[in-house]
Structures are given as C-alpha cells and as structure tokens.
Subunit: 188 residues, 2 copies
DNA sequence: CCCTTGAAGCAACTTATTTGCTTTAAGGTG
DNA sequence: CACCTTAAAGCAAATAAGTTGCTTCAAGGG
C-alpha cells in the first residue's frame, strides 16, 4: 500500500482509486487474470493508462493492492467453546480459502507486486489478528494459551509453505493435524 | 521447468539455453535485477528476443528458471556429530542464505514466474533432500529421528513464512529456537 | 474567493511483445 | 554417408505496452 497510503482521503484521487480497483475486479471476473493489462483496466475504469502507471507503477503492484483487499478476513473466527476447537475451525477455514485456486492466486499476487513487503506484511497481520481473537477468548476461559507467534509458526506457516511450495494433496485433515500437534504438546 | 524440460539435450537448444542463462546472471551482476529486460538479455546472449519469448514466455519465467538454479544447494550439510547439532547448523545456514537480500530475491523470482508450481516444488525438494541427508545420518547413529515432513513443517516452513511475509528481525537465534522446539519435545 | 498543489488528462515517443514466414541444424533413416 | 523431418532459431513487420513533458483540473487552505 505504499502509494495508496499517500492518497488524499476525500476527493478525486479516492474516486479514481475506487474505480480502478473496481475495474480490476470486474475484468478479473469477466476475462480472467491472465487477460488483464494496464490499458484494459484503464479503459474500464475511465482513466488514462498513465494515471495507473504513475500511481501504481505497473500491473503487478496494482494487482497486489487489490489482492490484499480480498485477503482481508470478513468475519471474526467462530466460537466453538474451546481453544482447540476454535483453532481447528479457524485453521480449516483458512486452509480452504487460501488453497483454493483463487486464494492461491491472490497470495501470489500479493507477494508479487510488493517491493517493500508491506502488502505481504498486511496478510500476515490479518492472520495474526484472527488468531489473537481466538487466543483472547481462550484466555478469558482461563485456558492455557500459546503465543500468537507460536500459532503462526506451527499452524499458519506450514499451511502457507505448502500452498506456495508444494500444492499437492492439501486438505483440512492437515490443518487439524497441525493444530493437534500444537494443543497436544502444549509447547511454550 | 515446464519448457526447459522439453529441450533437446545435446544441440543448439542447449547452447542457446546456456547462453541465455549466462546472460541473465551476468547482467544481474552488472546492472541489477531491475534493469533486466528481454531484449537486453537477448542481445547479451547473442540471440533474438523472439527466441526468448517463444521459449520462456516472459522475463518472469526466465528469471524463475535461473533463480531455481541458484537456489540449488552446493554442498551437503555438515556433520556436527548429532541430529540436533546437524539440524541447527543446517537451519542457520539456510536462514542466512535465504533471508539475505539476494536469497529473498531468488525465492520471489522462483515463485513468481511459475505458473504450474514446478519451480517452487523444486525449491522445496532441495530442502527436503538436504534434510534427508541429515536424518539418514542420525538414523545411522541410532538416534530417534522425526520425519522429513515434520522438519519441513517445524523448521523450513516458519523460516520461509517469515522471509516472505514478515521480513523483520530474523536472525540465526530464530532458527536455533525452531530446531530446539523440535528436538526438545521429540514430536511424532 | 482565490491561490497552491498534487494528481489527472493528453499526445508524442520509446520500448517491448507478438506473429508469419524463412532458415538452420540435430537426429533419425535408408 | 547423403537425405529427410522437424523442432527451434532468425528476421522483420505490425501491434501493443510503457514513458514522459506539458497542460488542465479540482481539492483544500488561506
């Protein structure tokens, strides 16, 4: 979000940004990600290509911004009554969303056009927030809780690693197994 | 390696591929990754741009191929006398290589221009091979060994996750801590 | 209400990418 | 060994993308 963050909040810039993002989403849905080009997006957004080049630099950075928006979780994690059950449910859903073809495409896009790593950092922050909610809830129940860091290392990282580097045979059982390994041995 | 794999082994194709790869490495060293373009690489390699476009599709796929080559480990893991020490040494070195700016760039490139995931899979296979050597050695000493999968989940995945998503404050202590968590509790 | 200023539009220009056709040379065949 | 076959390379023309200097617009501050 390097450039986006500098945008003036209320006026024309905001409208341009919104219409460009909307154009990306529409065209992605209509013709697929492969078919996107800057001039095409510009035309749909009613904007000149140079506006996009100047604000985003290139297609990848624009897609990265849009991808991060789509990776933002929409709902708080479900409350299943215990830390183990909450984490399990969250991890399963996370794995399912992220390992689906569209999820993987968003992750790749987010990483891709991200010179300074801020978009990738945002993705990780989303996961950390969700985990934080689960852990706070468990702490409220006086359960023993691992740290957010530990959950990131033991659950999130393996899932993401496999999605990115070994996309074969990923299923929700894997997510359950990771959570079990964590709650079972109660590390750290 | 989708396209590269189809190349006839001995003849002109192989020479072209070698000279294109060499051109990428030279130009990367001389002018930096940002400055690379297909026409530039082609000129250095003594080849027409259309050759590159037809064989690799675009600059990203070419860079991805080259990046994977550079991520291939060059030496077998050191033998430090015990599983814990071997894993620790390997993990430290892995983290240092991968988290250095050039290592991160190669990882990103490898993931980036990799439509079918085969280059990313190769990266993971390299790590798995190295770990396999360490584990075999430990088994030969009659030590209790975790599975390769476990080491990937508990050591490699967290390191890669942090490199890609949270590049702040990574040091060898982190690698040691991951290995300690694994050998200490002897999971699975 | 009028400046200031960052961002958008426009247009000319440069560079990259695609494509049809021709030529080359590796590898197999008689 | 000369001759085919064929995948891949070269070439060049055409299209498309990306860059840039300059002009115009409109939000926000005085």
């Amino acid at each position: 979000m390097s450039r986006k963050a500098m945008v003036r909040p209320g006026g024309r810039s905001a409208r341009v940004q919104a219409s460009v993002h909307a154009a990306v989403r529409e065209l992605e849905a209509e013709m697929g990600r492969e078919a996107l080009t800057v001039p095409l997006v510009a035309a749909r957004a009613g904007v000149t290509p140079s506006t996009i080049y100047r604000r985003w630099g290139d297609l990848q950075e624009l897609l990265s911004d849009v991808a991060v928006e789509r990776l933002r979780p929409e709902t708080a994690p479900q409350d299943k009554g215990s830390l183990g059950a909450d984490l399990e449910a969250w991890a399963e859903q996370f794995l399912e969303e992220m390992s689906a073809p569209t999820g993987r495409a968003y992750i790749r896009d987010a990483l891709l056009g991200d010179p300074d790593g801020s978009n990738a950092g945002q993705c990780s922050a989303y996961a950390a927030e969700q985990i934080d909610v689960v852990l706070d809830r468990a702490a409220g129940r006086e359960e023993n809780t691992p740290s957010v860091e530990t959950v990131l290392d033991r659950v999130v990282a393996p899932i993401m690693y496999r999605i990115l580097f070994r996309p074969e045979g990923l299923d929700t059982a894997y997510a359950r197994q990771l959570v079990a390994g964590l709650t079972g041995s109660a590390d750290r």
